[in-house]
């Protein structure tokens, strides 16, 4: 199988896991599986609203441990970005996802699946600025920053 076909099949299978996980969280607790929407409020904790969020984060980290044990090759740090740029990126993402009320999971997966107009707009915008940014770095700086 060509690497591209294999990569696409993995993307679909992984995607089904992500979508199924979002459906499980909705079925069990009625909540949206938006990562930034789950993590963000932990920084402004309200009593009675902390434990389930921490439990979710623990599940994510446990998933990371299992992935690391099974196939550490799924993890890769950006080889074309300096640590400084990665830090700036984290800061910009942190402000952006709280301002825009969601990220790839909350808007891109959960919101699009329930046909939310806000999530459709958000996803078009972040895909647009994402493509524009990475493509501009390629054109003006050879893909390295």
């Amino acid at each position: 199988m060509s690497p591209m076909i294999e990569s696409i099949i993995n993307a679909i299978i992984g995607g089904v896991f992500i979508g199924a996980a979002a459906s499980m969280l909705m079925l069990f607790t009625g909540r949206v599986a938006g990562i930034s929407g789950i993590v963000g409020p932990l920084l402004q904790p309200k009593s009675g609203d902390v434990a389930w969020r921490l439990t979710f984060v623990a599940g994510l980290l446990a998933g990371g441990v299992a992935l690391m044990a099974q196939n550490p090759a799924v993890f890769a740090s950006p080889s074309t970005r300096s640590l400084f740029v990665v830090g700036v990126a984290g800061l910009v993402v942190g402000v952006g996802v709280r301002m825009g009320n969601g990220c790839t999971s909350g808007h891109g997966v959960c919101g699009l699946s329930r046909l939310s107009i806000r999530s459709q707009v958000a996803t078009c915008v972040f895909m647009g600025t994402g493509f524009a940014t990475a493509t501009a770095i390629q054109i003006f700086n050879g893909g390295v920053l």
Partner: protein, 149 residues
């Protein structure tokens, strides 16, 4: 307890999905977002799989009178498009392409101890806190203006 096990399990499956799909590989993410290089379209199919699975089951789930372990569903119902949504999402996309990480994959990757993932997650939390503080200050000025007007 069973609620927490269910939440933990959902998040665990979510993380496995991120790993299998390629989303925890920051180079792959950057290769997907970079249309001028050797474009790698595979990650577009993550959305296909994820939305397919979630869309197919969402109505069935929310047609129930309630979720299994909580009293009611907490699904966002807003449908207004405001500047905050557009600017915030725009910033998110820029940061995503700058670092190759979005919040979920970054958190999952942090367990590797890789400096990039740790720096990203630290900065992510700072950015979130920064927005919260800024928003709180802004709301305070708005309410003061409201009182004096």
């Amino acid at each position: 307890m069973k609620t927490n096990i269910a939440i933990f399990f959902s998040a665990f499956v979510f993380a496995i999905g991120l790993g299998i799909s390629g989303m925890t590989d920051a180079n792959k993410v950057i290769g997907f977002l970079n249309a001028a290089g050797d474009w790698d379209p595979a990650l577009a199919f993550v959305m296909v799989g994820a939305i397919g699975a979630h869309l197919a089951t969402f109505k069935l789930i929310t047609n129930r009178p309630s979720p299994l372990f909580e009293a009611k569903f907490s699904v966002p119902t807003r449908n207004d498009i405001d500047a905050r949504l557009v600017v915030g999402s725009g910033l998110f996309g820029i940061g995503w392409a700058l670092g190759g990480f979005c919040p979920g994959p970054a958190l999952v990757s942090s367990i590797t101890g890789a400096p990039a993932a740790l720096v990203f997650v630290g900065a992510l939390l700072c950015g979130m806190a920064l927005f919260h503080a800024g928003h709180k200050a802004w709301v305070a000025t708005q309410s003061t203006e409201g009182q004096t007007a």
